[in-house]
């Protein structure tokens, strides 16, 4: 089986779906000739032509607005926003149309679009190139929100996202684009949207994360093993809809839970998880659910960004606190 980075896996997913379905179009700023600033769409224009894979004007609202019209015409647009921080000019189209068209028209017209973009910090990029605002997208009714943490999942989730008949916000953890390689099958396969994955079984506590922070948690596991703390590590993979069942099952078993999230703490994904855990398995809790998150500040510029995001060491520290907690 070929071994791929996440960039390659995503590129492959797009390639496979472009070949598979003539209604799929890939476009965005610098997506065509250049193949994307991270090369996620490299070679695709050459292979599938300028009608299928193309550059747009520098105008995010029209990129997403055009997706609405294309969707009405039966196409499946896969639009790239160049960075997490440049989705905002398109928020009106996303909130008022992409997320609403099916509901508005009682199912007559749906928007099977994928809005994909690199997200999160860790690559020493300029301002507004390090945003992790998935909680915001999760709160907007009508959007599914997907974030992979491995090349294999990235491809399978991308194929599911493109085939989904509803709009999917697909955030790609840019610091994992080339961080690891993994065997990734050729051809079509799917990872279901809305299903979390128990990446590692454990008994003492549950750590829930997703995307780039999964990698941080994985590293923290090494410390925790030395401490003889047995962690069950869950990769959410989908932010909306959340896979309550997998989460509740784990927390019922361990009684302790830490959520690790990159974006700003207040009103973040961790808060929703903790509220849900309270609803689903309050009686099983042996310690207050904890969260380790980005600060309620904007992400600092590159020189200081290491101090912003949770690190394996900080995950370790929180897990220790959680393990030590006694009612």
């Amino acid at each position: 089986m070929p071994v791929m980075t996440m960039v390659q896996a995503l590129n492959n997913a797009l390639d496979v779906k472009l070949a598979d379905d003539p209604s799929v179009l890939c476009f965005g700023e610098d997506v065509g000739v250049e193949g994307g600033v991270f090369r996620v769409t490299e070679h695709l224009q050459k292979k599938h032509g300028t009608k299928r894979v193309f550059d747009t004007p520098l105008a995010e609202s029209s990129i997403i607005g055009a997706c609405v019209g294309m969707s009405v015409m039966g196409l499946r647009p896969v639009a790239e926003m160049q960075f997490d921080g440049f989705v905002y000019p398109a928020m009106n189209q996303i909130i008022t149309h992409i997320a609403r068209y099916r509901y508005r028209t009682r199912g007559q017209r749906n928007i099977p679009a994928v809005i994909r973009f690199p997200y999160g910090g860790g690559v020493k990029a300029l301002e507004l190139h390090s945003e992790a605002m998935e909680a915001m997208y999760g709160h907007i009714p009508g959007l599914k929100v997907v974030i992979p943490s491995t090349p294999y999942d990235a491809k399978g989730l991308m194929i599911s996202a493109i085939e989904d008949n509803d709009p999917v916000i697909y955030q790609e953890p840019k610091r994992l684009y080339r961080a690891t390689k993994q065997e990734v099958p050729d051809g079509l396969y799917r990872i279901p949207i809305g299903k979390a994955k128990v990446e590692k079984d454990g008994t003492d506590m549950t750590v829930i994360s997703y995307g780039a922070m999964m990698h941080v948690c994985r590293k923290a596991l090494e410390f925790l093993e030395k401490d003889h703390i047995s962690v069950e590590l869950i990769d959410l993979r989908t932010i909306y809809p959340l896979d309550w069942d997998t989460i509740a099952e784990s927390v019922k078993k361990t009684g302790r839970v830490l959520v690790v999230q990159e974006g700003p703490k207040s009103f973040g994904v961790a808060a929703e998880l903790i509220a849900t855990i309270n609803e689903k398995c309050f009686e099983y809790l042996e310690a207050p659910p904890m969260r380790l998150c980005g600060n309620d500040t904007i992400p600092p510029l590159p020189r200081s960004e290491d101090l912003y995001c949770p690190t394996p060491e900080r995950v370790h520290y929180y897990c220790r606190k959680l393990a030590d907690y006694q009612i």
């Binding site: 179009l25 009608k51 747009t56 004007p57 105008a59 609202s61 029209s62 997403i64 607005g65 055009a66 997706c67 609405v68 019209g69 294309m70 969707s71 009405v72 015409m73 039966g74 196409l75 647009p77 000019p89 009106n92 189209q93 008022t96 149309h97 099916r102 509901y103 508005r104 028209t105 009682r106 199912g107 007559q108 017209r109 749906n110 009714p141 009508g142 599914k144 989904d164 008949n165 509803d166 809305g194 909306y240 809809p241 959340l242 309550w244």
Partner: protein
């Protein structure tokens, strides 16, 4: 690289500045000429026979009847709203020629992308009056099109529909179809970023789109000349390298003529056109609005004799294509039809609990299923308590 040669060009070349110049009309009424296309004057006299559109009597009559129908539907809606039977709705009166005259230029399989003040266009293109009233009643079914009616529903966020039109046009090109998209917006709407982004997309990708601005002089209370310092809305076309034309929007003939030419131009692969129809919102912005706050009745009176219905009727009467008797009979016919629809629509209840949750996604997510269950449980509890 082509850019360099272009920027070396020093000769005045409006045809090129404004687009491909495939139309003599757009050349004659060049966007920066300050000229406005007028055919019929307010008294129904043909001012400019040279610009008379090729409009046969049957089509003309049908157009007039739709204008009239739209007027009655609108008046009735305002009336029903005052009685508390419909919720807030936008008033159409005065803009019927712009709406109907433009939509008449479409083929049935062309696409209509409305804003919210073109019920004449909407209905001409096949949207039933029931649907219009359902929307006024705040029912989602008021955004569902009958099978085969190629129209988007009403769009509330100003100008956000313009990129949708570009996207439809893009898909038409991609699929190799020969449809055209007709997209409406107001004078106020030209200030929104989406106006600019949508027209630019359509221009860059040569999308078959006709962008139609209902310049009714106001965005709620804000007059047109506080909306932009451009002398005309039509001249905004220049910024996108497109033809732009200003027409008398209260003149069915001028509107039809310009839109037909634009539709043909777009269908032939020349790309988009911007049309500015100069008209007047004779009524309030919506039924919640009070125009006396921001305009004088003197001003309103200036526009009364320019009512777009008057001049077509006079023309038809002159040509003996229509009689006062027919007019009365038609009005009654319309009223009866509308009454029938109204009696049905205003009684419609809200969505059921399942309908409240349906269609947010193709299938209910876990959170939606749970929220639905919660409400059902509550209702059961309430039922038990009586």
């Amino acid at each position: 690289m082509a850019i360099e040669t272009k920027s070396k060009k020093t000769e005045k070349a409006n045809g090129q500045v404004n687009g491909k110049g495939a139309s003599s009309l757009f050349d004659a009424f060049d966007a920066v000429s300050g000229k406005k296309l007028e055919v019929l004057d307010p008294n129904g006299k043909v001012l400019h026979p040279e610009w008379m559109p090729d409009l046969d009597d049957e089509l003309l009559l049908a157009g007039y009847k739709m204008m009239k129908y739209a007027r009655i539907v609108d008046l009735k809606a305002v009336n029903l709203q005052r009685q508390g039977k419909l919720y807030t709705l936008p008033v159409n009166r005065g803009q019927e020629a712009a709406a109907v005259g433009s939509a008449m230029a479409l083929r049935k399989d062309d696409w209509l992308v409305p804003a919210f003040r073109e019920i004449g266009a909407y209905m001409w293109h096949g949207v039933p009056v029931e649907t219009v009233y359902k929307w006024y009643l705040g029912l989602e079914s008021g955004s569902v099109m009958p099978e085969g009616v190629n129209s988007l529903p009403t769009s509330v966020p100003i100008s956000s529909q313009i990129p949708h039109a570009a996207g439809i046009g893009h898909a038409i090109n991609y699929k190799g179809l020969d449809q055209v998209v007709l997209c409406y917006f107001g004078d106020g709407g030209t200030s929104e970023g989406d106006f600019s982004e949508g027209l630019n997309w359509a221009a860059v990708f040569t999308c078959p789109c006709v962008f139609f601005c209902n310049n009714n002089q106001y965005a709620i209370s804000v007059p047109r000349d506080q909306q932009t310092k451009a002398q005309t809305i039509a001249q905004k076309a220049v910024g996108f390298g497109l033809p732009g034309i200003q027409v008398d929007g209260n003149d069915l003939f001028a509107v039809y003529r310009a839109t037909k030419e634009a539709v043909d131009y777009a269908r032939s692969g020349n790309g988009p056109v911007l049309i500015e129809a100069v008209t007047y919102r004779m009524g309030a912005h919506t039924t919640s609005d009070d125009p006396t706050k921001y305009r004088t009745s003197d001003e309103e009176k200036i526009w009364e004799p320019r009512d777009p219905l008057i001049r077509v009727k006079k023309y038809l009467l002159d040509k003996q294509l229509w009689t006062e008797k027919q007019e009365t009979a038609y009005e009654e016919e319309c009223a009866a039809k509308i009454d029938e629809v109204v009696s049905h629509v205003v009684g419609l209840g809200p969505n059921s609990i399942p309908e409240l949750f349906e269609h947010q996604f193709e299938t209910l997510t876990n959170s939606l299923a749970e929220q639905k269950r919660d409400i059902e449980e509550f209702l059961a509890w309430q039922g038990k308590r009586g």
